[in-house]
Structure formats: structure tokens, C-alpha cells
């Protein structure tokens, strides 16, 4: 066996020197970060700090101006959300990106529908049975209980819809999950359940990047917290040590001022 430095082998995502300019606006001014197997990384910052732009770059929706993204040791250029998904980078969007008129099983497979084998499949016929079965299986492994996967998604409550969006992102060999404000619209009880889902994903060794304004929740869920300020990552905090007060000082830039 060759010796591999475990710290590098564990790195799933490495971002180096990523910038993004919109005309004269610098949304990202050189971001470096690493995400390792099985960890939950919190990404916090004020509005306009660059969190959403960074998530956009990682999910393939935004093309960076400069910089490199390495995924599982390979340099990648994420050209579109579907390209990112093909690599195993899944995103849970703030608005969940669910088609509410479709049945639950269809939302879980949307964009990756299974087709019947043979000629019928070539004609575009769906293998509904297989998709319903695997939807039930996915919800079972994610420990989400929902009456029937054949029900319309609009019949679900906010928390259940969230769970479906998370289940879609974590199913079928996803290798990195990005979550943009997954609990912003939820009640306390539902926030708690989504938090459990996040930990459940990480426990299966899939890293999660979690954007949230809910700092107590970030502290509770994350192994590390990265603070963005004016397009840069300015601090890496250990939530076991740093409290909400300290995070706020970094988010508002007050900690930077006092360091100077």
C-alpha cells in the first residue's frame, strides 16, 4: 500500500482563489476552502457577503471569473447545474425547486427519470414502478415517513416538502450536498427535523455545506463554520468553542476591525 496523507485523501472539494465579478461589483474576491468527507460545514455571512454566489459556483449555476475548483482530486469546471449533479454535487435550494403538481416519486426523480428497458424505453416510456419503488426505498433510508409516494407533492406540509428536497439531494450516490437556507421557512419543530436529516447525510460520509442565518442552528449542526465577509472567507470557527456572539462579530466585520 502506498501511503496517502489522510488529510488530502479526505478532501472532497477544494476551492482555490475563486473570484466572481459582475461588472464593477466583486461578489467573490478570492475564496479558498476545503470540504472533507462526512463533515457539515457552515457558511455564514451577512446579505451580500458572497455566500449565494459561492454556492452558485459550486452548484454549477454561476461561472467564476477566476480560480479553480477541485472535486474528488480532479480539477473540474462546473458548467451547469446538471453537470454538477452528474458529478454528484447536489443542491437543496432555498425555494426547494419542487414541482408541486407532480407526484412525490416524480419529484424525487425529476431530471433523472428511469425509462423502461428496450424499445419502449427508447420511445421515452417511463418505468414508473421502478421509480416508485426506489422513491419508497430512498425515503425509508432517509427515515422520512410520508403516506404514499404517489400523492401530489402539493398535499405535503412545508416540513415534508423540505424533507423531499433533501431526500432528492442525498439519494443515489451524491458526494457533496449544498444547502441554501434549508430551514428559513420552517417552524421550530420542522427545523429540528431538517437538522436531523443534515446530520444523517453527514453520517453517511457525504459532506454538507450549509448556508444559514440561524446561528444557533449552525452551531448545533456544523463541525466547522466559515464566515464570509465582503467576498472573502475571513474566519474558520469551531462551533464547540466560538459562540453566537463571536460569529456575529466576524459576520459584521467587527472582529476584523479589532484585529487590525
Amino acid at each position: 500500500m502506498t501511503t496517502i496523507d489522510p488529510s488530502t485523501a479526505d478532501v472532497v472539494l477544494r476551492v482555490t482563489g475563486v473570484t466572481k465579478h459582475y461588472g464593477h461589483v466583486q461578489a467573490l474576491r478570492g475564496v479558498d476552502m476545503e470540504v472533507r468527507r462526512g463533515e457539515v460545514v457552515g457558511l455564514v455571512g451577512d446579505n451580500g457577503a458572497g455566500k449565494s454566489t459561492l454556492i452558485g459556483v459550486l452548484s454549477g449555476a454561476t461561472t467564476p471569473t477566476e480560480g479553480a475548483v477541485e472535486f474528488e482530486g480532479e480539477p473540474v469546471s462546473l458548467s451547469s447545474p446538471s453537470h454538477a449533479r452528474d458529478l454528484g454535487i447536489e443542491t437543496v435550494y432555498q425555494d426547494l425547486a419542487l414541482a408541486l403538481d407532480l407526484p412525490i416519486w416524480a419529484n424525487l426523480h425529476l431530471g433523472r427519470e428511469q425509462r423502461r428497458p428496450g424499445l419502449l424505453g427508447a420511445l421515452g416510456f417511463l418505468d414508473k414502478k421502478a421509480m416508485i419503488a426506489s422513491a419508497e426505498e430512498e425515503l425509508r433510508t432517509t427515515r422520512i415517513r410520508i403516506g404514499s409516494v404517489d400523492a401530489r407533492t402539493s398535499a405535503l406540509s412545508g416540513g415534508q416538502r423540505q424533507a423531499i428536497a433533501v431526500a432528492r439531494a442525498t439519494a443515489r450516490g451524491s458526494k457533496l450536498v449544498l444547502m441554501d437556507e434549508p430551514t428559513a421557512a420552517l417552524g421550530v419543530e420542522q427545523q429540528h427535523r431538517v437538522g436531523e436529516l443534515v446530520r444523517h447525510v453527514a453520517d453517511r460520509d457525504v459532506p454538507v455545506i450549509l448556508i444559514s442565518h440561524n446561528l444557533p442552528q449552525v452551531r448545533e449542526l456544523c463541525d466547522r463554520v466559515l464566515v464570509m465577509y465582503r467576498g472573502r472567507i475571513v474566519a474558520e470557527l469551531d462551533p464547540a468553542i466560538e459562540g453566537v456572539e463571536s460569529m456575529i462579530r466576524w459576520i459584521t466585520g467587527a472582529a476584523l476591525e479589532s484585529e487590525r
Binding site: 489522510p6 488529510s7 479526505d10 472533507r36 462526512g38 463533515e39 457539515v40 449555476a61 451547469s80 447545474p81 446538471s82 449533479r85 443542491t91 435550494y93 425555494d95 426547494l96 425547486a97 419542487l98 414541482a99 408541486l100 403538481d101 407532480l102 416524480a106 425529476l110 431530471g111 433523472r112 427519470e113 425509462r115 420511445l123 421515452g124 416510456f125 417511463l126 414508473k128 427515515r143 422520512i144 415517513r145 410520508i146 403516506g147 401530489r152 402539493s154 398535499a155 405535503l156 406540509s157 416540513g159 415534508q160 424533507a163 429540528h192 427535523r193 436531523e196 436529516l197 446530520r199 444523517h200 453527514a202 453520517d203 449542526l221 463541525d223 466547522r224 469551531d238 464547540a240
Partner: protein
């Protein structure tokens, strides 16, 4: 492990026993015992309200049949089925468009335009001494090409220039009508190969003419495509949440273009069949048909908000309209009542669907 990793450690797996119940109580709501009235309501709502739609159709047939007994006859079926074909074909294309969240106001004009231009081609070829079957074939291909081209232009302008379907197809309505009148001089096209009439009017097996059989075939293929294929599922996805469809990697623009091409193609099919029935092409044939096709789709349960609709529902909607049209004529009622009845039924159908959705436990 890196020093930092060890220092920070990893959170321990959390107890997950809490998660086994996600709002089960709310799901149970639908399982409570029901009163007979609620049970009947649930029965009507089956198949997204298709049970109720079929019952309304039967009710209309029975009521008109009681008033005018000769409505229940082969002759009136022949008239009704022939009448229904045009609206049904336009409405099938319209249903796909409406499910994507769009609307096609140009289907009537495109039908007339493609039929008239196809007829001009047939007339000129026939006059030039061409074989009638060749003339008919070339006319058919020309019609289908023009219908598809109009749909392609609609779809490309909607997706590439980002103009709303209402405006784009309203523009196409005008352009198609104007082009048709330029080419035809505004007059009905006659002098077509007489063999056309045998396509349009010969009943096969006594009960079904070629236009009716073509319509049934198109309806079956479209119904299966919408409910069983990836194209159908993605049509619903695009209309239900276009942004989500984009983000899961569905080629939304191309999908929308294809749906408008399909609507234009079916408009041309309807136009050609109409030409074959009358062995002439009228420049007035499409007037108001866009609204009829929308009414049939909406009576059939399609939502103008997108994401909902079915071919079975649309076919029932087209049959309801044809039954009223033919039935009221046979019953000797002034034909103006037909438009009043269709207007009322359209609004009532949408209201009925809203009630159904409200009681099915869905939320926005």
C-alpha cells in the same frame, strides 16, 4: 487526520427516533369516515375530476335526448363526431401548451392558414394536370409543414426573446391570418381534387369517418405520451415550476419549443381534415377556434397556471362542446344559446376543479 480535524472532531450521530413521524396527523385527515355526501363528492373527484366530467357529458346527452329524441341517433353521432374533431385536435395541442404554463392563441389562425395554403397548392397541382393523389399528398405535406413552422416560430420567440406566450401567439394569429388572405385573396379555395372528399366523408365500418379515426388515434397517442413518457412528465414539470425544471437539468426551452411545434402541427392536421370534409378551404374556418380549444382544455381540467391537465379530460371537454352545438341545433334551440351554455360550463368547470382541489387536501 489533520490536526485541525482532530481538534474539531465530528458531531456524534444524533438519535433519529424522533423523525419517524412527519405530520402523520395531517395525512390521517383523508382517512376519516365520510358522510354519503362526502363520499359522493370524493367519487366525483376521482381521476382529477374526470368522473364528474364524464357525468356532465352524459347528463347533457340525456337531457337533450329527452327534449329531442332524434338526438340519440346515428345521424346525429356522425354530425357530432365530425364537428368534435376540429376542436378536439386543436385542444389536444392546446392542452400540452397550457400544461407548460403557456397559451396558444394562434391555433385557429394557423389551422386556417395551413389549410388554405395547402389547398392552393393542391388546386394549382390539380390544374396543372398532376395526379390527384400526388396533389393531395403534396398539399398535406405543405399544410403540416406550415403548421409546424408557425409553432416553431412561436416557440423560438417565446423562449429566446422571452416574450409571453399570450403576446407571441396573438401576433402569430394576426400574421397567419394576414398571410392566408394575401395568398388566397381572401376567398374560399375551391377546385380541389374530388378524391379529397372520400377521405373526409367516407364512414369506415359505418360509424367512424377518417377525420374521427385520425382524431381518436391522435388522442390515444397524445394521452399515452402525456401520462406515460418522460416527455409528458417533463411537460408537467415545466409548467409546475419552470425554475425547478431548469435546475434539475431539464432542457426547458427546447421542451417548450417542441410543445408549440406539436400544437401547430395538430392545427395543420385539423385544417387538412376540414379541407377534406368540405373539399374546399375557408379563410373563416379558424375564427374563434382558439377560444374553443382553450375552453375544451379548461373544461377538461387543464389549469392556465400550468402543471395540470389531461387528454381524456380535454376530449370530454371537446365532446361536451360538440354535443351542445349539435344537440341544440337538433332540439331547435337558437344556436346562440350554445355559446352561452359553453361560457357557463367553462366557468363552472373551473369552479368545480377549485372546489375539488380545495377538498383534496392540497396546499399552495
Amino acid at each position: 487526520m489533520s490536526a485541525k480535524r482532530l481538534l474539531m472532531g465530528r458531531k456524534q450521530p444524533v438519535e433519529t427516533t424522533m423523525m419517524t413521524t412527519l405530520d402523520d396527523a395531517e395525512l390521517d385527515r383523508t382517512r376519516r369516515p365520510r358522510t354519503p355526501l362526502q363520499g359522493f363528492g370524493a367519487f366525483l373527484g376521482k381521476g382529477d375530476g374526470d368522473v364528474a366530467r364524464v357525468l356532465v357529458l352524459l347528463l347533457i346527452v340525456v337531457v337533450i335526448g329527452l327534449v329531442a329524441p332524434n338526438f340519440i341517433s346515428k345521424a346525429s353521432w356522425m354530425a357530432l363526431s365530425q364537428t368534435a374533431t376540429v376542436v378536439a385536435l386543436l385542444a389536444i395541442g392546446q392542452t400540452f401548451v397550457i400544461i407548460t404554463g403557456g397559451i396558444d392563441l394562434s391555433v385557429g389562425a394557423v389551422m386556417a392558414c395551413s389549410a388554405v395554403i395547402g389547398a392552393v397548392v393542391m388546386r394549382e397541382l390539380a390544374a396543372g394536370g398532376a395526379d390527384p393523389s400526388i396533389a393531395i399528398l403534396v398539399g398535406l405535406v405543405t399544410s403540416l409543414g406550415i403548421g409546424s413552422l408557425a409553432g416553431l416560430i412561436n416557440g423560438l420567440i417565446i423562449t429566446k426573446l422571452r416574450i409571453t406566450p399570450f403576446i407571441v401567439t396573438l401576433g402569430m394569429l394576426s400574421v397567419a391570418t394576414g398571410s392566408m388572405n394575401l395568398i388566397s385573396g381572401g376567398a374560399e379555395i375551391v377546385g380541389l381534387p374530388p378524391q379529397l372528399g372520400s377521405i373526409g366523408n367516407t364512414p369506415l365500418g359505418g360509424w367512424f369517418t377518417v377525420p374521427v379515426l385520425v382524431t381518436i388515434l391522435v388522442a390515444v397517442v397524445a394521452g399515452v405520451a402525456l401520462s406515460q413518457t418522460r416527455f409528458g412528465l417533463r411537460t408537467f414539470a415545466v409548467g409546475s415550476n419552470q425554475g425547478a425544471a431548469r435546475r434539475v437539468g431539464i432542457g426547458v426551452d427546447w421542451h417548450i419549443v417542441r410543445v408549440y411545434v406539436f400544437a401547430g402541427f395538430l392545427a395543420a392536421v385539423a385544417g387538412f381534415l376540414l379541407t377534406s370534409r368540405f373539399v374546399s378551404a375557408s379563410t373563416m374556418a379558424g375564427t374563434g377556434m382558439e377560444l374553443s380549444s382553450i375552453a375544451a382544455a379548461v373544461i377538461g381540467g387543464a389549469s392556465l397556471m400550468g402543471g395540470r391537465g389531461s387528454i381524456l379530460g380535454t376530449m370530454v371537454g371537446a365532446l361536451i362542446m360538440a354535443a351542445l352545438q349539435i344537440g341544440l341545433i337538433i332540439a331547435g334551440v337558437a344556436s346562440f344559446w350554445q355559446t352561452i351554455a359553453i361560457g357557463i360550463i367553462t366557468v363552472a368547470a373551473v369552479y368545480g376543479d377549485q372546489i375539488r382541489i380545495k377538498y383534496s387536501g392540497e396546499r399552495s
